[in-house]
């Protein structure tokens, strides 16, 4: 039990660092020294200590959204196993619940984008819903492929010990593509841009400041680590079950960190060496991910 709690604390504290590391790698690739990998923590600390500005034209939706978004990401984190194939909320729901939890957060963020009446927020909401309508089916299909392999949709089981399967690898790649969209990264979105007209995710959160913004940012970090964890567990399952020794836990952590770092490097390279796609071209990219997931499902039914 102690390890399960440890796992949650570990994931929450690690989440901003993953973003920090990706940014650092990107900057180094661009021949720059770049900010410290701890910068996301400083940003969060700064935002939490700041005052907040709230448009007088906005309603309760705007105020409540950061909490819902944060809560949904946190709950998702409780569902996924990282280095032990067990998670605190594993009997609450399965793979499908995860998809719906994220949809809930997204739904409210999109509402909040519309709520302030700013044109950028509305554009962001519309684009986010548009993109997610293509991303979600791909996620679900990839999950199906994985659950076929294990005969269950329970996350602890599907992420747990099992043989390395070809179909899981394909499903993992499909998930990786969707992750680019879900974590608003190039080639779908661009986290670093200041051009409001091109934003997707950021545009919805433009009106937020202070602690609310900090919650939304933290929620994005958590969401990112959930997706990375899912990919890593799909491609290369978690080795250890609930009853483990500290040594095994440590080994588990090291394997987990290695997997996450690999994904981080992969994403950093993608972001630096690809241009962002045209908004409507992103659909093709996500279709591709869906087709991959479908292939994974077919492979899984064939036992590969």
């Amino acid at each position: 039990m102690i390890f399960i709690i440890l796992q949650i604390i570990f994931l929450i504290s690690l989440a901003p660092l993953v973003s920090g590391i990706i940014t650092k790698i990107k900057n180094n690739l661009r021949l720059r020294r770049g900010q410290s990998v701890w910068q996301p923590y400083y940003n969060l600390a700064k935002l939490f200590s700041k005052d907040e500005v709230c448009s007088e034209h906005s309603s309760w939706v705007f105020k409540i959204t950061p909490f819902i978004v944060f809560a949904s990401s946190l709950l998702a984190l409780f569902l996924v196993p990282a280095f032990i194939a067990k998670s605190p909320a594993q009997y609450l729901g399965d793979l499908l619940l995860l998809v719906f939890i994220f949809s809930l957060g997204r739904f409210f963020l999109a509402l909040a984008g519309l709520d302030t009446g700013s044109s950028f927020g509305g554009m962001g909401s519309s684009r986010e819903m548009f993109i997610s309508s293509f991303a979600e089916p791909a996620i679900v299909m990839a999950f199906f492929a994985v659950s076929f392999n294990f005969g269950t949709t329970n996350l602890a089981a599907t992420c747990g010990p099992g043989a390395l399967k070809f179909s899981s690898l394909i499903a993992g790649i499909a998930l990786l593509i969707v992750t680019l969209a879900e974590t608003s990264r190039i080639p779908i979105d661009n986290q670093e841009t200041h051009l409001e007209l091109t934003m997707i995710h950021e545009a919805m959160a433009l009106e937020y400041s202070g602690p609310s913004l900090a919650l939304i940012e933290l929620a994005s970090y958590l969401k990112q680590i959930v997706f990375f964890t899912l990919i890593s567990a799909t491609v290369y399952p978690v080795v250890f079950c609930a009853q483990i020794t500290p040594i095994q836990a440590l080994t588990g952590i090291i394997i987990y960190l290695a997997k996450i770092s690999f994904i981080a490097v992969l994403i950093a390279f993608t972001e630096v060496f690809l241009a962002k796609m045209r908004l409507f071209r992103a659909v093709d990219f996500l279709y591709f991910s869906f087709v991959l997931a479908l292939l994974a499902l077919i492979a899984a039914t064939l036992g590969a």
């Binding site: 690739l29 554009m123 690809l274 241009a275 962002k276 796609m277 045209r278 409507f280």
Partner: protein, 527 residues
């Protein structure tokens, strides 16, 4: 055919009546007409010379003649001349027929003249103010009139600026600016969109209006060069060059080949650093950060080279009337050649990365198409015009040091972002070649100006192909040797309209990319 035959033909076949025809220096023709004939003459020249309005300005001569003098200028590459149609209109009845319905490219100029001089244009399609915003500027207060008093006014009748409206189901208006994210100057963009596609874009500028033309008035000729360098920071050298050219023409200062070459080197260096900057900017606006980082390195290399050669990273304070501060000795030549070699190599690298990246090419190919006809109608100039298939480049159109070295102008036909990028790539390569040629010209020491040149009364046009396009200065020096009127046209003034038309039908997220591919100056437009 000589221009005189052309003018004779205008009089015979088109029944134009000129009160006087004067040749000013060897490239300016002034046709004076009655105010009733002004429109007819301008339209005729516009059609026959295939030239948009290059400059259109007024001058307050109420003290001498009790009249305003209006000039409308067309350029002819065929005759290698600038044709100025001028007319006088009585101060008490300051009204003129508007050209804007026949010559679109005069529309903005007319709005400018109206608000600066209080001259009305009958039949004008757009009577809104341009830079002196209705919300803050007092009515009936015309800053370029000589009797204008620069005093704060309390009673400002507030009026509202009406944006062009697009009606219809599902059409939304998206206001952007004047304050933008990022470190750029202010401008307001009003999009009308149907979902993501842009139906209409109206750009409202003027937030940076500084009264530059008024500032020039009464200034010492040698000191005012500093003002010209600060009109648009990224074209400092081109502006100062156009300015000094005009002054040198008036004062009869002979520009040696060596001096022209030195200036051309600076002009090309300015072009190169801006083109490199824009290539990076275009890449960055589609999130392609690796070549963007390389481009910023190239830009920095050129800026450091500028500093080594002239002492100024942005080539300010380099140009002077009759001379430059760039003294190319053997050491500097070596530095320049070595730097060019490195820049050329780095540049080849970035070109290869950009043009071979499928994800990048997909973004720029076919985005933001400015049609040739639109570009011609609105008088789009320079780089943007060349990308849309208009062969216009002052370096080629007028003979000088560039034509001596077989300058090869860039030309593209498609008018999209990729075409504007390709123009930049081509021009940088050509610039490197030209500089290597210009270095070999024998640089005489006699360029040193020993005494202050003698000032003369007169007026002239200075023109330079800056990196964005032609920079024009029309300067009149009075009997005391002070500047009486200085009309400045930065290429951005024409090209902002091109931008607002090139985005139509594209989607909103592609706007920043189109904008960057023009990379226009707010400051140069707002003056």
């Amino acid at each position: 055919m000589d221009y005189k035959t052309f003018l004779q033909e205008l009089q015979d076949r088109h029944a134009l009546i000129f009160l006087s025809v004067a040749e000013n220096y060897n490239d300016e023709i002034y046709l004076s007409v009655r105010s009733d004939d002004f429109k007819k003459t301008c339209v005729c020249l516009h059609k026959l010379l295939h030239s948009p309005v290059a400059v259109f300005f007024a001058q307050d001569s109420r003290r001498e003649k009790n009249a305003f003098v209006i000039y409308c200028t067309f350029m002819s590459a065929k005759y290698k001349k600038w044709f100025f149609v001028s007319t006088e209109i009585a101060a008490d009845k300051a009204i003129l027929d508007s050209l804007a319905r026949e010559i679109y490219s005069s529309s903005l100029f007319e709005r400018e003249v109206r608000e600066m001089f209080g001259i009305e244009f009958s039949g004008s399609p757009d009577a809104r103010s341009l830079r002196l915003h209705e919300e803050v500027w007092p009515r009936r207060s015309f800053p370029l009139r000589k009797d204008f008093q620069n005093k704060p006014t309390k009673d400002i009748e507030k009026a509202e600026y009406n944006f062009n409206k697009v009606d219809g189901e599902g059409i939304l208006e998206v206001p952007v600016g004047p304050v933008h994210a990022g470190i750029i100057a202010p401008g307001h963009f009003r999009f009308s969109v149907a979902g993501e596609p842009i139906i209409n874009l109206e750009i409202r500028l003027g937030f940076k209006h500084k009264g530059i033309e008024k500032l020039f008035e009464g200034k010492n000729v040698f000191e005012a060069i500093k003002i010209s360098e600060r009109i648009s920071g990224d074209s400092s050298f081109a502006h100062s060059l156009a300015y000094t050219q005009a002054i040198e023409k008036i004062c009869g200062i002979i520009v040696t080949e060596s001096l022209s070459a030195q200036r051309a080197i600076c002009l090309e260096l300015e072009r190169m650093y801006n083109h490199a900057n824009d290539m990076g900017g275009i890449a960055l606006d589609v999130g392609f950060s690796f070549p963007a980082a390389l481009a910023s390195l190239i830009k920095e290399e050129i800026l450091q080279l500028n500093e080594k050669l002239t002492g100024s990273r942005f080539l300010r304070g380099v140009n002077e009337v009759g001379t430059t501060r760039l003294k190319l000795d053997e050491g500097k030549k070596k530095v320049l050649l070595a730097a060019l070699k490195k820049i050329s190599k780095d540049f080849g690298e970035i070109k290869k990365i950009l043009l071979s990246s499928a994800s990048f090419m997909d973004r720029v190919d076919g985005t933001g198409v400015l049609k040739k006809k639109t570009a011609e109608d609105f008088g789009v100039v320079g780089l943007a015009a060349r990308a849309s298939g208009i062969a216009a480049d002052l370096r080629k159109d007028f003979s000088g040091i560039y034509t001596q070295f077989n300058f090869n102008p860039a030309k593209e036909a498609t008018g999209d972002v990729l075409a504007r990028l390709n123009i930049r790539i081509f021009e940088v390569e050509e610039s490197i070649r030209l500089i290597e040629e210009f270095i070999n010209i024998h640089h005489t020491a006699s360029d040193k100006r020993l005494t202050q040149p003698e000032l003369k009364e007169g007026f002239a046009l200075g023109y330079v192909e800056a990196w964005r396009g032609p920079v024009l200065y029309w300067i009149k020096i009075d009997e005391n040797g002070l500047i009486e009127r200085c009309k400045v046209v930065d290429p951005s003034f024409h090209n902002w309209q091109g931008l607002s038309y090139c985005v139509l039908g594209d989607i909103i997220p592609d706007f920043p990319l189109c904008n960057k591919s023009f990379d226009l100056s707010y400051s140069g437009n707002d003056l």
